[in-house]
């Protein structure tokens, strides 16, 4: 029985598109359309703005002739383009960029007393509550958590993308998860 071939990498699909293979782009788009869209919607919390940035990001990729540089993966590159576009938009419209706020991680760290193994807690599945919990996070924590959630990036990749020290990214991700768990905790009726 023939073993199915591994799917082509994002980078090879992009390279094929650059040589005129339009079908390669469709495969690439299908892989990342959902993650990128959800990342932008959750990050800026405005569907219209998210769609605008989403469209600009893909068109920028289509019209560019460049490839991901160095060891950067296509996914890191794509989300970095989207993030830069969003920051440019905020800057252009005089909106304060919340991603650049210096944030004292320790001040916002709260003891996570809801995740003990002895406690029978579950996470809320209510969509509105999930969205509200995400929006309740500080911007930089939310960005790190969304990159982990929707772009499926590892901590070092997030650090490279956001130009943030690795340890800072780790702590932001940890605080974000602690806060989300606390906000979404529901006691299981026994």
């Amino acid at each position: 029985m023939a073993v199915p071939d591994d799917p082509p990498s994002d980078e090879s699909l992009l390279a094929r598109y650059r040589t005129g293979d339009a079908a390669a782009f469709e495969a690439l788009y299908a892989r990342h359309r959902q993650g990128l869209y959800r990342f932008l919607v959750s990050l800026c919390n405005k569907a219209e703005l998210a769609e605008e940035i989403y469209q600009e990001t893909w068109l920028s990729l289509i019209r560019s002739s460049t490839q991901p540089q160095g060891r950067a993966s296509f996914r890191t590159w794509l989300f970095q383009i989207a993030r830069n576009r969003l920051i440019d938009h905020w800057r252009k419209h005089g909106v304060h960029n919340p991603l650049h706020d210096s944030y004292d991680e320790q001040l916002h760290a709260q003891a996570d007393d809801s995740a003990g193994p002895e406690q029978q807690l579950s996470l809320s599945r209510d969509q509105a509550r999930l969205d509200a919990a995400l929006q309740d996070l500080p911007e930089d924590q939310r960005e790190v958590f969304l990159l982990r959630l929707h772009a499926d990036l590892e901590v070092p990749q997030i650090a490279a993308l956001t130009h943030t020290p690795l340890e800072t990214v780790k702590s932001r991700l940890r605080y974000a998860q602690q806060k989300l768990r606390r906000l979404l905790a529901e006691e299981v009726p026994v």
Partner: protein
């Protein structure tokens, strides 16, 4: 099977992934995909296609035609056959030439200058074969010419001298036969008188 690295943080991520919603609008998908198709770079032609494309340009057509014409001419010139000796003509010529002239010289009949140059041109591959064929033909022609050419008969004086030589050598029988043969050839000649005069000289 449980992943030993599975942590509560991973559970939180999975929980969010399971309950995340939101899709880009279909119109946005269509717009982006259409833009991608429209602005996709033209596929780069293969080497063969580029060659064909170059061949279709008039400037290159002239160049290729010139090169092809030259190659054709060189090919025709290099492969033209070596002029074969015309045996019947040679034999015919030999019959009309002086009998003393060597027969193989019939092959050196003057050829047109270009053909002579072609025949003289080096032909590494065919030279041995051609030489062999030419040699065989020459032998054959010589044999034919020897067979067909008239035997050169000695003149009257030569015949008389031969008779004197034979008599001096003591071969009177052969001398008499020679004298009879000369008499048959020259019946009107006074052979004894001429023989005597020659002896006196």
């Amino acid at each position: 099977m449980t992943d030993p690295r599975h942590t509560p943080d991973d559970e939180l991520i999975q929980h969010f992934r399971q309950h995340s919603t939101g899709e880009p609008p279909a119109s946005l998908d269509a717009f982006i995909l259409n833009a991608a198709r429209r602005e996709a770079p033209a596929p780069q032609p293969s080497l063969w296609q580029r060659w064909l494309h170059a061949c279709q340009r008039p400037r290159w057509q002239m160049a290729f035609a010139t090169v092809a014409g030259l190659a054709l001419m060189i090919g025709v010139v290099m492969r033209s056959p070596v002029p074969q000796p015309n045996i019947p003509t040679a034999t015919f010529s030999a019959l009309h030439e002086d009998a003393a002239q060597p027969a193989p010289q019939a092959f050196s009949a003057p050829a047109p200058a270009p053909m002579a140059r072609i025949a003289a041109a080096p032909k590494a591959e065919s030279a041995p074969v051609q030489a062999e064929i030419a040699g065989a033909l020459a032998d054959q022609s010589v044999a034919k010419m020897r067979k067909r050419a008239p035997v050169a008969r000695p003149s009257l004086e030569q015949g008389l001298r031969e008779i004197i030589r034979l008599r001096e050598a003591g071969d009177s029988k052969a001398a008499d036969e020679q004298l009879l043969a000369l008499h048959a050839r020259f019946p009107n000649e006074d052979l004894p008188a001429r023989l005597e005069a020659l002896q006196k000289r």
